[in-house]
Subunit: 358 residues, 2 copies
């Protein structure tokens, strides 16, 4: 089992000592930014579990270079509980941030059973191993997709959930439901469900960022790949939505803001919070055409695009009510759209082929 | 591996030869009646897989005595795929009827992770093994509980699903969703979701019937246990519903009618049906007080009862629209409430302690 840890003994820390936080999927796009934010915080020592299925060890090296700290890393496949147990034996975890999972919407439609098997399987394995080791604080990486087509806007956390249009989204919804049910009977557990809106951007250093396999399914990496010359033109799916310019509106959030939201939520787990959901977004919506213009401005490159029909399952507009996160987590996204685009572009420019350049 | 089979070679049957049908949970209450109906039909040879967690081998002996046929039986725990694979290697299955699963609502609230782990796990294992062996016809034992609180009555199959009030019901809903998604991409699969209303009654012989562990959670076995002197009094949960006598109304269906609905649905799988849901009920609703009176009539015993508060999650009235099953499956429940009560009582009277008398 690989380990970069410089923590010789991971057990038995005192009140004022830093707490070990398991970060599953900690080498991924969101995970790497969460780990970096945790490393900045004297209260926490992140320990990464990641099977590197859709991430690169280079990412962890860069986090170590940026932070000047070693990151304990275990290349564990969470489908097998014993590997997870070994990590829990080494560290007296205070809490877990569960980010690991399959996340490609299109692939989930093509191979739904894989998504149900893996995403539900690893969530159950994690919860069972946490229970075995008496760890009862969990942040779960959920998604705004659990809301389905909005019945009203902005989306607050009381909006109904479940009418998801694809298996990926359903796995998020199912796991939310499972954790809510768990929380009903495990009174000493505290669980926070973080419903991400649309994370974009990258760390300001340009050293870590989103590195999708193959053709990006999300707008931002597609746009920056066009800007950097890797792709010919962008596609705008849907021009006849009832929105200000006819294209889809989304609530984009800077990934560093999102990561800081995780740190804020960790503090919530120290309270007797039961199971609570929080939106992580900015509360503002940006159209596809506005985003193209913003990336053009940030990159100084012209981004050609073609207008296409709507994609099935897409909705016209989504943005969140941020009140609950602001009030209860004392957290608010602060980075502007221009900052998001500048950082996305900086990462793409410095790493035109992602971590594979290293 | 135990086997009672008299089919020396389970492989390679011709068009006019009987088809092997896997029945998971085939030793349970519903399963045993389904197996008996299949044994009466020259087109099918049922093969039972059951871990006997909540059923008795005696039940299978009685089915063999009633039918005069051997029932191939494998005591496989479906949480382990290899055991299932061994059965698929022995038989060239035409289809599978998936009835296995945990089904106690109250236990599911107390231990939700167990329900998610087991019910979702065995459904995924079955589907994956079916896929490995090229078997693409599946009947799934779902429940009216997927409808949640009725938005309208009678409940037809287009009623929205998902707002289930307990983990047991959610596992049924989640598995329905998984199978619908599977059906979207596996064009050669045919799947029928059977949404049971409230099965009661027993085979007219009184040789097989419902044999719940511990205190029955359902009304009928509770009433017959009071009638037979095993319990002191019945409990009526909720007397202030907006129903004709204030008590809850349910759509009770004779288990033999229900079993015959499975045989009718097997024929549907021979068509290119995609994934379809059917209600299995009578379309009529009976109140708790009416049921008590009917069991008193059938048994000739007085059934004392106490009035209690509503149980959380219970709804006032549920009954189904039977049109779709009648039209598309050419099946209709025919047995009366008096018949249901007479057969439930006959089973209870002959087997005051269930299969454990044998």
């Amino acid at each position: 089992m690989a380990s970069l840890t410089n923590h010789v003994n991971g057990r038995g820390h005192e009140e004022d000592e830093p707490k070990f936080v398991l970060v599953t999927g900690g080498a991924g796009y969101i995970g790497s930014h969460v780990v970096l934010e945790l490393l900045k915080d004297y209260r926490y020592v992140p320990v990464v579990v990641d099977n590197l299925d859709n991430s690169h060890p280079e990412c962890l090296h860069r986090i170590e270079a940026l932070s000047g700290k070693k990151v304990p890393f275990y290349p564990v496949d969470m489908m097998y509980k014993d590997g997870l147990r070994e990590v829990f034996k080494k560290y007296n975890f205070s809490s877990a941030i569960h980010l690991a999972g399959l996340k490609a919407v299109g692939e989930s439609v093509e191979n739904p059973m894989k998504y149900y098997r893996v995403n539900i399987g690893i969530a159950l394995n994690l919860v069972e191993v946490m229970k075995e080791f008496g760890v009862g604080k969990l942040l779960f990486s959920s998604s705004a997709t659990v809301y389905g087509t909005p019945k009203y806007l902005p989306l607050d956390e009381n909006h109904e959930t479940g009418a998801c249009s694809n298996p990926y989204g359903k796995t998020k919804f199912f796991i939310e439901e499972m954790l809510k049910d768990l929380s009903q009977v495990e009174n000493d557990w505290n669980i926070v469900l973080l419903r991400y809106f649309n994370p974009i951007g990258a760390h300001e250093s340009g050293e870590i960022g989103e590195d999708p396999n193959g053709i990006p399914a999300n707008l931002m990496p597609f746009l920056t790949q066009v800007a950097v010359g890797k792709r010919k033109e962008a596609k705008v799916f849907g021009t006849d939505y009832a929105t200000r310019d006819g294209t889809g509106l989304r609530d984009y959030i800077h990934v560093v803001d999102l990561a800081q939201g995780h740190v804020a939520a960790l503090a919530k787990l120290e309270e007797k919070c039961g199971c609570r959901a929080y939106n992580l977004g900015t509360g503002k919506s940006v159209s596809v055409l506005e985003m193209i213009a913003a990336v053009e401005k940030a990159s100084g490159k012209k981004i050609p695009y073609v207008l296409c029909h709507r994609r099935e399952g897409d909705v016209g507009e989504m943005y969140c009510d941020t009140t609950k996160a602001e009030t209860e987590l004392k957290w608010k996204a602060t980075r502007s759209l221009d900052q998001m685009c500048a950082d996305s572009w900086n990462w793409q420019r410095k790493n035109p082929t992602g971590y594979k350049t290293a």
